[in-house]
């Protein structure tokens, strides 16, 4: 399964090469051109397969999904052989203790060390963990020993095997980095379609570090319309109050009307909703305005680009293990493919 391969591959922001190689291999037969730009974005062009239908039909559409994942970078090697590290992207310190990681090109295994409960005073157990002094233990006993295995600047990722959890039902799977390898997987599927416009599939770099890859990819591509594919926040676990879950697993693709990074183009939101209704595809709105996506950078490119974001709901994003439903994934592919076809007729001005 491509998603398994993508999830288990390691690509922290700024070091997406492994992900890029997998994707390139998967899409090669479907694209007419591709290039890798200065920031490491993989930009694939699938030329229009058919004649555009009308005056208002877009000629150039960009669909983006980011390749990078949150992780760590090694910032120091201690005398005792443990490693100091910095976070890349948004990671909650409280989830770090005792997690397994893989470091550098050679995938050196390590664990984020933390004292066992026996050694934590009662009062301290009530407080959030202070990970500022935490270090990664790779089993080395000296600085020299550690330096044989890793070097400063090496990236580290969580170490998580991809697994299918539920073969029937919601067809749930778990793995790391489903934000946004699931978007990459959807985009690979979309390239199997045939569209009446030039489709630029941008697999972007450094989203988690600040939407950086998408910014330059959109500038270079200069699209008329853009979609961003994401794995988004999902918190459908029981709640104390009647506040909304942001999204729910198994309820279909998520359409964003607004988040911290952008206000979705209303015409595109309507196009997505109308398409879902027409085809009987379940969909949900992202209820809440948290988070941001590559759309935040893309829609502000040059003179502005009408943009929308469509996501697969993913539980536990930015953590070692995330979970999604393959049914949501399949529906997202279908919704996007049909929406792109509908877009061939053009947007009202």
């Amino acid at each position: 399964m491509l998603l398994k391969e993508l999830s288990e591959a390691r690509g922290v922001s700024g070091n997406e090469a492994a992900i890029r190689d997998i994707i390139l291999n998967a899409v090669k037969g479907q694209v007419d051109e591709y290039r890798i730009d200065a920031l490491g974005n993989l930009i694939c062009l699938q030329k229009a397969r058919r004649q555009a239908q009308g005056e208002r039909s877009p000629r150039k559409v960009m669909v983006a999904a980011h390749m990078d994942e949150v992780g760590f970078v090694i910032t120091g090697i201690n005398g005792d052989g443990t490693l100091r590290f910095g976070k890349v992207g948004g990671i909650d310190d409280r989830i770090l203790p005792s997690k397994q990681v893989l470091i550098g090109q050679e995938s050196v295994p390590g664990v984020i060390g933390y004292r066992p409960i026996h050694l934590i005073p009662r009062a301290e157990r009530e407080r959030a963990v202070d990970t500022s002094k935490a270090a990664i233990d790779i089993g080395a006993t000296s600085k020299g020993g550690a330096e044989k295995l890793v070097k400063l600047g090496d990236y580290a990722t969580f170490r998580t095997a991809f697994e299918v959890l539920d073969e029937s039902g919601l067809r749930t799977v778990k793995g790391k980095a489903l934000d946004d390898r699931v978007g990459c997987a959807v985009l690979v599927e979309l390239l199997k379609g045939d569209y009446a416009f030039d489709l630029y599939a941008a697999f972007t770099a450094q989203e988690e570090a600040g939407l950086r890859g998408a910014r330059v990819a959109a500038y270079a591509t200069n699209p008329e319309v853009a979609f961003v594919l994401e794995g988004t926040v999902c918190d459908d676990l029981p709640k104390k109050k009647d506040l909304s879950p942001v999204t729910e697993v198994g309820k279909g693709p998520v359409i964003t009307f607004m988040d911290r990074s952008f206000v979705a183009d209303r015409r595109l939101v309507k196009l997505l909703v109308d398409t879902a209704k027409r085809l009987g595809i379940p969909y949900q709105f992202k209820q809440g305005t948290v988070g941001g996506t590559d759309a935040g950078a893309i829609h502000l490119t040059r003179e502005g680009v009408p943009s929308a974001a469509v996501s697969v709901p993913v539980r536990y994003i930015h953590a070692p293990v995330s979970l999604l439903s393959l049914i949501d994934l399949d529906y997202t592919v279908r919704l996007m493919r049909e929406t792109l076809h509908t877009l061939e007729g053009g947007l009202e001005s």
Binding site: M258, V263, R266, G288, T289, H299, R302, E303, G304
Partner: protein, 331 residues
């Protein structure tokens, strides 16, 4: 001009949903401009062509206002919401809001009358749109609302929701209508999505590619009973921005404004805004950088449903802007 202001402040237009404001302004300026277009983020760009030899100038006033966006509807029909721009939860209690459809909502908070209650958090607030069990709700998730308050003319002082920045739109539109022959090509840009991050100005400045940019926006004052010290007051004349959180104004642009005001003999004040930013910053950083400044209208109670400005300051701003634009510009 009060009629124009009333129309603009009472129009509905939260960030991303500025269409009614845009339609209104387009109707007002259409006959007086050489080109009128809307870009992909909804900015309204009105060009008044010069007689030649002048500069390419961008004037930016934002059409959007802060608002609320529905995120959840409970079983009884109460709505939870997120904010669009810098909405202060405390300032919303008991307020009425209006949706694009015209539906009205009231903002509720149960702890209102409890002694020693703390400031409300957004999660505690809800919207009541008059739901009756079994009836269809007039609004749903993703719908956006703005404050709903009528314009009040106190004579010298004017009060309304969305003075920020419809008063800037009114100043720009009035200056445009009054403008005679000028050597400059002037792009009056009525921008979108300022309140959520200067987004409309960023892309429109890229498109217009001006040589000079001037934003027209409101600024805070230091003239209320126990205000944080700030040397800006109502009735002190339009304010010429020197600095805010996002920009250091280009000295050439600042001096252009000061000299013009002095030449006209109208009152003005210098503005140093410690917290807050405007479209000035977006224009300044467009492409290879653009000299940019800001003409500010002093305004009390910004981001509440009752923003207050002084009519004399407003008229001063129109006069100053008109004079600035009508002559050759040296920065």
């Amino acid at each position: 001009m009060k009629e124009l202001i009333k129309k603009l402040v009472e129009a509905y237009g939260p960030s991303g949903y500025e269409v009614p404001v845009r339609d209104l302004i387009a109707d007002i300026v259409r006959e007086s401009v050489d080109e009128l277009r809307t870009d992909s983020l909804g900015n309204l760009i009105a060009l008044k062509k010069g007689t030649g030899g002048g500069k390419r100038i961008m004037i930016a006033a934002h059409m959007d206002e802060i608002g609320l966006i529905v995120t959840y509807v409970d079983k009884k029909g109460f709505l939870r919401f997120g904010t669009v721009g810098g909405v202060l939860p405390l300032a919303t209690i008991g307020s009425r809001v209006r949706f694009a459809s015209g539906a009205i909502g009231v903002i509720g908070w149960e702890k209102w009358l409890q002694p020693s209650s703390e400031r409300p958090s957004l999660e505690e607030l809800f919207l009541d749109v008059g739901a009756i069990p079994g009836n269809q709700l007039p609004v749903g998730v993703g719908d956006v609302a703005s404050f709903d308050r009528p314009f009040v003319d106190m004579g010298q002082r004017l009060v309304a929701k969305a003075m920020d920045d419809r008063i800037g739109c009114a100043v720009a539109a009035q200056a445009l209508l009054d403008l005679g022959a000028t050597p400059n090509d002037i792009y009056f840009v009525f921008t979108t999505q300022e309140e959520v991050g200067l987004r409309g100005a960023l892309v429109s400045a890229f498109g217009v590619e001006p040589e000079v940019g001037v934003a027209i926006d409101v600024t805070k004052t230091g003239d209320t009973p126990e205000a944080h010290p700030m040397a800006v007051e109502l009735s002190g004349g339009p304010a010429i921005k020197v600095m805010d959180s996002d920009v250091l104004v280009h000295p050439g642009v600042k001096n252009w404004m000061i000299k013009t005001a002095q030449g006209l003999g109208i009152k003005y004040q210098l503005e140093v805004l410690e917290f807050g930013g405007t479209d000035t910053a977006a224009m300044q950083r467009s492409r290879g950088g653009i000299p940019a400044g800001c003409l500010s209208i002093p305004c009390r109670y910004i981001h509440t449903p009752s923003e207050m400005v002084d009519y004399g300051d407003v008229q001063g701003a129109v006069k100053l802007l008109g004079e600035m634009l009508s002559k050759p510009v040296e920065i």
